[in-house]
Amino acid sequence: MPKDGIGASTKRREDVRFLTGNGRYTDDINLRGQAYVHFLRSDVAHGRIRAIDTSAAEEMPGVIRIFTAEDFAHAGGLPCGWQVTDKHGQPMQEPKHPILAEGKVRHVGDPICAVVAETLEQARDAAEEIELDIEELPAVIDMRKALEDGATKVHDDLNSNLCYDWGFVEENKEAVDKAFSEAAHVVSVDLVNNRLCANPMEARVAIGDYDPWNDQHTLYTTSQNPHVIRLLMGAFVLSLPEHKLRIVAPDVGGGFGSKIYHYAEEAFCTHAAKILKQPVKWTSTRSEAFISDAHARDHVSKIELALDKDHNFTAIRSTTLANMGAYLSTFAPSIPTWLHGTLMAGPYKTPLIYVNVKAVFTNTVAVDAYRGAGRPEATFQLERVIDKAARELGVDGVELRRKNFIKPDEFPYQTPVALEYDSGNFHATMDKMLELSDYANLDARVQESRENGKLRGFGISQYIEACGIAPSNLVGQLGARAGLYETATVRVNATGSISVLTGCHSHGQGHETSFPQIVADMIGIDASQIDLVHGDTANTPMGMGTYGSRSVAVGGSALVKATNKIIDKAKKIAAHLLEAAPEDIELKDGKFSVAGTDKSVDWAGVTLAAYVPHNYPLEDLEPGLEETAFYDPNNFTFPSGCYGCEVEIDPETGKVDIVAFTAADDFGTVINPMIVEGQVHGGLAQGIGQALTEHCVYDENGQLLTGSFMDYTMPRADDLPVFKVDHSCATPCTHNPLGAKGCGEAGAIGSPPAVVNAVIDALHRAGHTHVQHIDMPVTPARVWAAMNTK
């Protein structure tokens, strides 16, 4: 095996440019003659636009043009990529999402006018001179109120604020209700999954460019999936065919989901560049990001668990209100349904499950996927209600979970909520977590904390999640308006070096290092001979991008497939050169040999023959060595694991400190352990952020109260412990060629309930047994209030 093959913690090659200031992020790009756009956004949550007077603004220095909705009368709305069907078989209500507000504004931040000027400062100054006459309307912010009869409607042309009322599996509802009525024990928790903002450190940027001589549009954008943007914007919004539209997503400074979606600013800059005959650039400020990036989570749920007298789980019932915001973002409807309801079995054998989700329009920013997307919400419900059940029944939470786990010999396991888990070993990850966290000696540490005036507790969370959403024909039946395959082209050059072209996109995941490791391993050449090309629709095959922990599991599998085609052809060339039969050729360490002989030709000898085909079987084989593969998985991959969180609470203030955190994950085959460990760290930090500090808060008028990093509090270096991370309990994925699962989201999925369970444990150990639940974020104020209110 080459030293940088599968399983090696190879240092990241992309780091050198990032560490020296030579990354090329979208805002680092400046095109000759570019103009700047500033969006004038609504400062009210709901209102009717009576008049817009831009006359004074147009006279301001440097102003090139001011656009309003009228300039986009020809264009389509921003499309939604997933149509959910409700429990009566009816399609969801789907309002138009215009590029610039048409007639009404529906959330603070809704763009109304776009001011294009020679400089950004001039565009901002001119926007101050626009006179808006907006009749403010009552805003609907609270989901329950939005569903009341007579509630103000976010969209006048819809029947109500209900996007859909989804039941899953609807046929099971009666049986589930019956199981609850017959249960020996029923435990329930009412909880909120707090609204979040992804906040990648690079805010969004878009630059539109148009070349009239070739009728070519180019959009530089901070996207996780440039081909998806090309398809959505080209086909549905601006009516531009793909061959006239190029999307470039260069270095992107984090995404976490928020850069999956097609946003209005992208369509605006693309269109305006052609109208104005000059490039148009938009750079979001952070304040603007808070009111224009898709938000996340925001579920209000009731989870109920039924158990028999022996504490076997017999049924689960989950009821959720899911906030969609004012418009449907690209994949919003799928998150509370197909990425949430299907995970409600967790790692447990519960025969009957029913999930009801009502998705609701409100006068808030659109809500869509963020690291985990639906799976954190499902995991939080399950692990909270199981934790509560253990307390109510007076049994050990570890034992209650173990008793109900799907056992290692029961895979493949068909859950009652559609998924078939291919692999896992929940007992092993739980045992590993308990060992690494020194759970056995917890009581002594609790006592030590008590002597220091602190309350210590331990929380457990066992999760399973679904990554690499697939297969395309199934998700099409479920309402997806896109395929979910991935592609790879392996372009071998004459001297043996290789360019790998992928439809995935790396924005922190380290693909430029890990993807070449796969090819290096398969061929047996040094990874330094292999480069990855990504992020530009002009030079990569159509792929779906990077989200949902799919890149290695789906994109890596496409790469294996393409590389196998290369190896097959290379063996035929080698066979010709060695005057042997192709089936007798073996490839090892970058050398082709005839089995049982000392005859061989090296990799570069074969690649040169492919491109200088003088001694070559031209009658039977085309010259060249380049192959493309599309890979459409036949199932999700199912990472799983067990997390343990140990907290200390200051009873005087209610402040929670995470003193230890242990993660034992099963990611199947790992390509680069160093990168995987980093992904887990980052996921844990975001999950702990959700649990302890992060919260998008709207007031009753729809003003976002947490619109900056001063109010929306993401974890900082001194908020987090040293994580203990392990992925030795691996059960390889059974249906993809690498055996790889996904690792990007696990940390954010599994950690929030571990934190909250730890807080509740600490309070109970200290005698505050009246505290049954605290909603996230578990702030000092909430903990203190819970301790001191009976």
Partner: protein, 164 residues
């Protein structure tokens, strides 16, 4: 517009700027030094940290004209004279202290300022010093580890996995 001059990474430079131009904008737009990043508009995130006369400063919180004549060092001026990564940069690569790379210039500049003040900081001192720099990718563990390693300390306890 005024012409502002300063020394950046050892070279005297001049560019036009408005009175309201921030140092971050002056470096990025005026001088084309796009390694300094802007991640927020409230001086919270630290992606824009540069050194002004040897001190770490959030360059989004300083007017360019206020530091005219100063010595500025940015991420572009941190590598060794032969172009290789300096000890801090190398430690960030060795210990996977960055993912998307966007906060990284500010982190490296802040870490360099810390080690200049305190050559062997404890883990707690590093976490405290870097509190003004937000990273959304790494969970900070490998950043802390990189800074400890750059100061010559043993970091084997901080992770099971070492880069090759």
């Amino acid at each position: 517009m005024n012409t502002i001059s300063m020394t950046v990474n050892g070279k005297t430079v001049s560019a036009e700027a408005e009175g309201r131009t921030l140092l971050s904008g002056f470096l990025r737009e005026g001088l084309g030094l796009t390694g300094t990043h802007v991640g927020c508009d409230t001086s919270q995130c630290g992606a824009c940290v540069v050194h002004v006369d040897g001190k770490p400063v959030k360059s989004c919180s300083v007017l360019a004209m206020d530091v005219a004549g100063s010595e500025i060092r940015t991420i572009e001026g941190m590598a060794n004279s032969d172009g290789s990564l300096n000890a801090i940069q190398q430690a960030f690569q060795d210990h996977h202290g960055l993912q998307c790379g966007f906060c990284t210039p500010g982190m490296v500049m802040a870490a360099a300022a810390l080690l200049a003040e305190n050559p062997r900081p404890t883990e707690a001192e590093i976490r405290d010093y870097l509190e003004g720099n937000i990273c959304r990718c790494t969970g900070y563990q490998n950043i802390v580890k990189a800074v400890m390693a750059a100061s010559g300390q043993d970091v084997s306890e901080m992770s099971a996995i070492a880069a090759q």
